[in-house]
C-alpha cells in the first residue's frame, strides 16, 4: 500500500471534485431554469480561462483586475448568447435547443483553437509562495485557492437561491413558468440571468483550473465530466450537483489509485465516472436528489 500516493490522490480528488461541483452547479442552473441541457458548458470554462490568460499575458494586468474584466465579459457573453441564440428558440422542441448547444460547443472549441492555438499555456505566477505547510502536508497555494474559490462559489449560490429575490424568482420559474409570470416575473429575463450566472461561474472554475494546471483546449472536458456528476446528484438539484461533483472527483482518483496499485488496466481514471453514470441511470434514474413531485392526497 502506498499511503502517500493515496493521500495525495484523495486531496486531489477533493480539489478537482469541488471544481466539478462548481461546474455541475452552473450546468444545473441552466437546466433548472429553462430545461435546456447545455452541452457547451465546458466551453464556458475554456473561454473564461483563455480570455483571462490573454488579458494577463498580453496586457500584463494584475491577476484580480484581469479576473474582474473576465467575469464582466462572461456576464455580457452569457446574456448575449441567450438573447441572440436561445431566445428565438423558446417554444421550439427542447431537443432542437439541445442540438444547438452541441453546435455552439463545436463552434466555441474551434474558435478558441483558432485564436489561441492548440498548445497548453501556463498562467503567469500569481502567488509569491508556491506551497504552504498545513498539518505536515505540503499543499500548493494554487490548490488551496482552488478549494477556497469553489467553496465561496457554492456558498454564494446557496445564498442566491435561499435569500435573494432573484434566486426565489428563478426557482419559481423552474417550478412553473405561468405561475412565475402571474407573480410579475419576466421569464425571458430570468433565462438570460441563468445563462449569465452560469457563464460567469463556469469561467471562474476555468480560470482556477488554468492557474492550477495551464490553459489548453483540454479544459472543455470538464463539460463532459459534469454529466456523471449531475446525473448522480439528480439533474435539477444544486446540492446534488455539488455532492455529485465531489463524489466523481474522489471516485476518479480512487479508481486511479486502485488501477495503478492493483489492476494495471490503465486509464481507469478517465473511464470510471462513466461506468458510474451508467450504473446510476440503471438503479436510480432520478439521482440522489432529483425531483420527486409532491403529491398531496
Amino acid at each position: 500500500m502506498n499511503m502517500q500516493l493515496l493521500v495525495q490522490l484523495l486531496v486531489n480528488g477533493v480539489i478537482v471534485g469541488a471544481l466539478y461541483g462548481v461546474v455541475a452547479m452552473s450546468f444545473v442552473l441552466i437546466y433548472k431554469a429553462s430545461q435546456v441541457v447545455n452541452f457547451a458548458q465546458g466551453e464556458f470554462l475554456l473561454i473564461g480561462a483563455w480570455v483571462c490568460w490573454w488579458l494577463l499575458t498580453k496586457y500584463q494586468i494584475p491577476f484580480f483586475a484581469g479576473m474582474a474584466i473576465t467575469l464582466v465579459f462572461m456576464l455580457v457573453f452569457g446574456v448575449a448568447l441567450q438573447i441572440i441564440v436561445l431566445r428565438p428558440l423558446i417554444g421550439e422542441p427542447i431537443i432542437s435547443v439541445i442540438m444547438v448547444t452541441i453546435g455552439l460547443s463545436t463552434i466555441f472549441q474551434g474558435a478558441m483553437k483558432w485564436i489561441f492555438g492548440l498548445n497548453a499555456q501556463p498562467f503567469p505566477p500569481i502567488f509569491k509562495t508556491q506551497s504552504v505547510n498545513i498539518l505536515g502536508l505540503q499543499i500548493q497555494t494554487a490548490y488551496l485557492m482552488s478549494v477556497a474559490v469553489s467553496l465561496a462559489m457554492m456558498a454564494g449560490m446557496a445564498w442566491f437561491f435561499k435569500a435573494s429575490k432573484y434566486g426565489l424568482a428563478m426557482r419559481a420559474t423552474a417550478f412553473n413558468q405561468q405561475i412565475a409570470q402571474s407573480l410579475g416575473i419576466s421569464v425571458k429575463n430570468i433565462f438570460a440571468m441563468a445563462w449569465a450566472i452560469s457563464a460567469v461561474v463556469s469561467a471562474v472554475a476555468g480560470v482556477v483550473v488554468g492557474v492550477v494546471n495551464s490553459v489548453s483546449p483540454a479544459l472543455s472536458t470538464y463539460g463532459i465530466k459534469v454529466f456523471p456528476a449531475v446525473i448522480l446528484g439528480g439533474l435539477d438539484s444544486i446540492v446534488g450537483a455539488v455532492l455529485g461533483g465531489l463524489i466523481i472527483g474522489l471516485l476518479e482518483n480512487i479508481a486511479h489509485y486502485v488501477d495503478s496499485e492493483f489492476l494495471h488496466w490503465g486509464n481507469l481514471y478517465e473511464i470510471a465516472p462513466f461506468y458510474v453514470l451508467i450504473i446510476i441511470l440503471m438503479i436510480k434514474p432520478y439521482g440522489l436528489f432529483g425531483t420527486r413531485n409532491i403529491e398531496r392526497v
Partner: protein, 280 residues
C-alpha cells in the same frame, strides 16, 4: 394599524361619475388564432368594490381574467378586438409581468402555489415587483391575517387546500396591488372553509381598500360579498346589476342559486326551467 394599499376611492366630482378602476370594452378573445372564446365582453369595476363574475363552466370567466392579467399570452390567446383600460390606460397586449407592476394581481385557478418552497418564501415571491423597503412590514401584516401560515415551516405543497388558498391570497396582498383577480377561491374547499375564505376576501377589501374581481361557480357565496355582479354565458355578459338585484332575479335563482327562493320546489318551477334554457 392596517394600512390602505391603494389610494382611497376618489369621491365623484360633481356632475362626473368616478372613473372605474378597470373597464373592459367589448373584447374579443381568440385562442390559437381560431377558437373564439370571448365575443364582445364588457364590464366595469368601480374603485374599492368587490365585483362577482358568474357563469357556467366554459362560459369564458377564466379567459376574461387572463385577458385582464395578460396571462392569455402564455396560452396562445390574444385579445383581437376591443380594449382593456386600467386606471385610464390601455393594458391589453402588454406582457403579464408588466401588468403586475401596474397593480393587477391574479390569484390563479388552483391557487398557483409554488409547491417546493416554504409558505414564507411564497409570500416573499409575491413582493417580487416591489422596490420599497416595507416588504417585511407587509409580511407581518399578512401573517397577522393568516396566523396558521407562520406555523407551517415545511413545503407549501403539503399545506391543506384551505391553507393554500389563504397563502395565495396572502401572496397577492404582498404585491400591494390595486386590483386582485380571483379565480374560483372556493374550488375544492369544504362549505365551512368557503365561508372563511369569503369572510377574508370581504375583510381585505374593507381594511385595505383593494378592489376585487371574483370569478365563481358558487354564486350564493360570491353574491353575499360582492356589491355588483355580472353573469356570463358563451363569451358574453348576459345580465348585470347590483348583487341584491341579482339575488332577487328569478332567472338567477333558478340557474345559480338552486331553486326560486325559499318556497318548496314545485312542478311550476320546473316548467319555467324548461322554458328558459338560455339567457338569450
Amino acid at each position: 394599524m392596517l394600512q390602505s394599499h391603494a389610494e382611497p376611492a376618489q369621491a365623484p366630482v360633481a356632475g362626473i361619475a368616478a372613473e372605474p378602476l378597470l373597464s373592459v370594452r367589448n373584447i374579443e378573445v381568440v385562442y390559437d388564432e381560431v377558437i373564439l372564446v370571448l365575443r364582445g365582453l364588457s364590464l366595469e369595476i368601480p374603485r374599492g368594490a368587490i365585483v362577482a363574475l358568474l357563469g357556467a363552466n366554459g362560459a369564458g370567466k377564466s379567459t376574461t381574467l387572463k385577458a385582464i392579467s395578460g396571462l392569455l399570452k402564455t396560452e396562445d390567446g390574444e385579445v383581437t378586438r376591443g380594449e382593456v383600460l386600467f386606471d385610464g390606460q390601455r393594458i391589453d397586449g402588454i406582457d403579464p409581468d408588466k401588468i403586475v407592476r401596474r397593480g393587477i394581481f391574479q390569484v390563479m385557478e388552483g391557487r398557483g402555489i409554488v409547491a417546493d418552497m416554504t409558505p414564507i418564501e411564497n409570500l416573499r415571491l409575491g413582493a417580487f415587483t416591489r422596490r420599497d423597503n416595507e416588504v417585511q412590514k407587509d409580511l407581518d401584516m399578512v401573517l397577522g391575517y393568516f396566523p396558521r401560515l407562520r406555523e407551517r415551516t415545511g413545503l407549501a405543497g403539503y399545506l391543506s387546500g384551505g391553507e393554500q388558498q389563504m397563502l395565495a391570497i396572502g401572496r397577492a396582498l404582498m404585491a400591494r396591488p390595486k386590483l386582485i383577480l380571483m379565480d374560483e377561491p372556493s374550488m375544492g374547499l369544504s362549505p365551512l372553509l368557503v365561508k372563511e375564505v369569503f369572510a377574508i376576501i370581504q375583510r381585505i377589501n374593507r381594511d385595505l381598500g383593494v378592489t376585487i374581481l371574483l370569478v365563481e361557480q358558487n354564486a350564493r357565496a360570491a353574491l353575499s360579498v360582492a356589491s355588483h355582479g355580472y353573469i356570463m354565458e358563451q363569451g358574453k355578459v348576459v345580465l348585470d346589476g347590483t348583487a341584491e338585484e341579482l339575488r332577487d332575479n328569478e332567472d338567477v335563482k333558478e340557474f345559480y342559486l338552486g331553486g326560486a327562493g325559499d318556497q318548496r320546489r314545485s312542478f311550476k318551477n320546473l316548467k319555467s326551467f324548461k322554458r328558459r334554457k338560455r339567457w338569450l
